[in-house]
């Protein structure tokens, strides 16, 4: 069973609708033990780093999320669900994050309009199963003002050009996370969810198979 972690993130219902559409079996949960023992974990997220970390801690799901990733179950982070994987974020006067991946999250430099909001192309850097059936340079929907700067490029699965090239997808073993919102990215976005539930051992609806 896939656990969609409920810690007050604003986009949880959109994520749930997309999972439903591709035929996933999942539970929205704020139970630390359910998260820790799930077959797969989805961490939605939108908004500010400090609020996200606070929400995760208050729901006491921060350690269970890290534990699930350590156990090697498929993990999908969306937007803030990508950013909080790193050591820290510049946002809100340096917010310590989960530290699953080495690196930091920084704000787009002056001169670039923030938030980076709208459809932009995603250049796949590896053969990730998350992108099965998704054409190279497909457009996805972004809304964010900060982006991840990994210490080690090995986890960079895709990049996007917004005046500078930034990491838009990370991957390590069974961990996947996107800076964009696949649940708002039309058909290619749904395909990301379909690919993820396949990694979690489920069968997507035929039109996404």
């Amino acid at each position: 069973m896939i656990a969609v972690v409920d810690y007050g993130a604003g986009n949880i219902h959109s994520v749930a609708r997309a999972l439903t559409r591709v035929g996933a079996t999942f539970a929205i949960t704020d139970s630390p033990s359910t998260v820790a023992t799930a077959d797969a974990v989805v961490l939605p997220g939108v908004g500010a780093a400090a609020d996200t970390m606070k929400g995760l801690r208050q729901a006491r799901v921060d350690d269970p999320v890290v534990a699930a990733i350590s156990r090697g179950v498929p993990y999908l982070g969306i937007c803030m669900g990508l950013q909080v994987l790193f050591d820290r974020s510049e946002e809100d006067d340096e917010t310590p994050c989960l530290g699953v991946l080495r690196g930091e999250v920084v704000r787009f430099p002056p001169g670039l309009e923030v938030p980076h909001m709208g459809w932009n192309q995603v250049l796949q850097a590896d053969d990730s199963p998350l992108f099965a059936g998704v054409p190279q340079n497909s457009n996805f929907y972004f809304v964010h003002s900060y982006f991840a700067r990994p210490s080690d490029d090995a986890c960079v699965s895709a990049t996007t050009d917004y005046g500078l090239d930034f990491t838009s997808v990370v991957r390590r073993d069974n961990l996947y996370a996107t800076q964009f919102h696949p649940e708002k990215s039309g058909v290619v976005g749904l395909r990301i969810y379909a690919n993820f539930i396949r990694l979690a051992g489920q069968t997507p609806r035929p039109e996404f198979a």
Partner: protein, 259 residues
């Protein structure tokens, strides 16, 4: 590269999609859920729903409508019309809207923009401006109207757009009442007056009748997005045709296969 956006707009009255000309004379243009799905298949980058009744009853219909659309259409949805409080905004976001536009209430109480931006983030907060060009002013001036064009104010639209950005609005929808529903083209001069002084995205609204109008709003008016109703509802052009035309004019567009 960030693409420019094409946004079909659905004016909703009592759960049906309607189309007005200069803010009146409704024509029934079909079921909004069906239309939303069609636009998504044609490659719409975003959809906007305006509740033109803007009553408490209308709000409940909207919540239901947005929920139904959001379960079938997986692109950003915006909602506007009759949003007066933070709670109204929360209700819309919760039902599946990505952005909520505030119009009359924001002009009456500018702090509402700040309060909504603080609570939900600027990216959710759209300031919607309906304005009429002053007939004799030189240099040109545009005056804001409220309540769907019925109430004149003394507010200067360009100044209010700047103030909206300062208060935390993440985007501005600029609707020219003169041009609305006429299909004679956006007010490009109005767009330039605003895009020259704000750095947040400006969405052109009101007057689209041809593909050239859409192109000009972006290429000449510097709009980030074009919003249109009639030309899409009545299949004068498909969204895909509009995007292909603009891409051929050198405007970055999302042209992926959509279905």
């Amino acid at each position: 590269m960030l693409t420019r956006r094409v946004i079909p707009c659905l004016d909703v009255k009592n759960g049906r999609n309607v189309r007005g000309v200069r803010f009146s004379a409704d024509i029934d243009a079909g079921d909004p859920v069906e239309l939303a799905a069609r636009y998504d298949r044609e490659g719409a980058d975003e959809l906007v729903f305006y509740d033109i009744t803007a009553s408490a009853e209308g709000r409940n219909i909207m919540v239901d409508l947005v929920e139904r659309v959001a379960s079938q259409v997986f692109i950003p949805l915006s909602v506007g019309g009759g949003v007066r409080t933070i709670d109204d905004m929360y209700l819309m976001l919760r039902s599946g809207a990505e952005k909520v536009s505030i119009n009359s209430a924001a002009h009456r109480d500018p702090d509402l923009i700040r309060a909504c931006a603080d609570r939900f983030g600027s990216q959710c907060v759209v300031l919607s401006i309906d304005a009429l060009r002053d007939p004799d002013s030189d240099p040109p001036r545009w005056t804001i109207y409220l309540n769907g064009g019925r109430v004149r104010t003394s507010l200067d639209a360009v100044e209010i757009a700047q103030r909206g950005q300062d208060l935390g609005a993440g985007e501005i929808v600029l609707n020219s009442i003169d041009a609305d529903g006429t299909r004679e083209g956006y007010d490009v001069e109005f767009l330039r007056a605003v895009t020259d002084v704000v750095s947040i995205p400006v969405v052109a609204s009101g007057g689209a009748g041809s593909l050239e109008h859409l192109r000009d709003a972006i290429a000449l008016g510097n709009a980030h997005a074009v919003l249109a109703a009639s030309i899409f509802h009545f299949s004068v052009y498909s969204v895909r045709e509009a995007k292909e035309f603009m891409a051929s004019a050198g405007i970055p567009m999302r042209l992926d296969p959509y279905d």
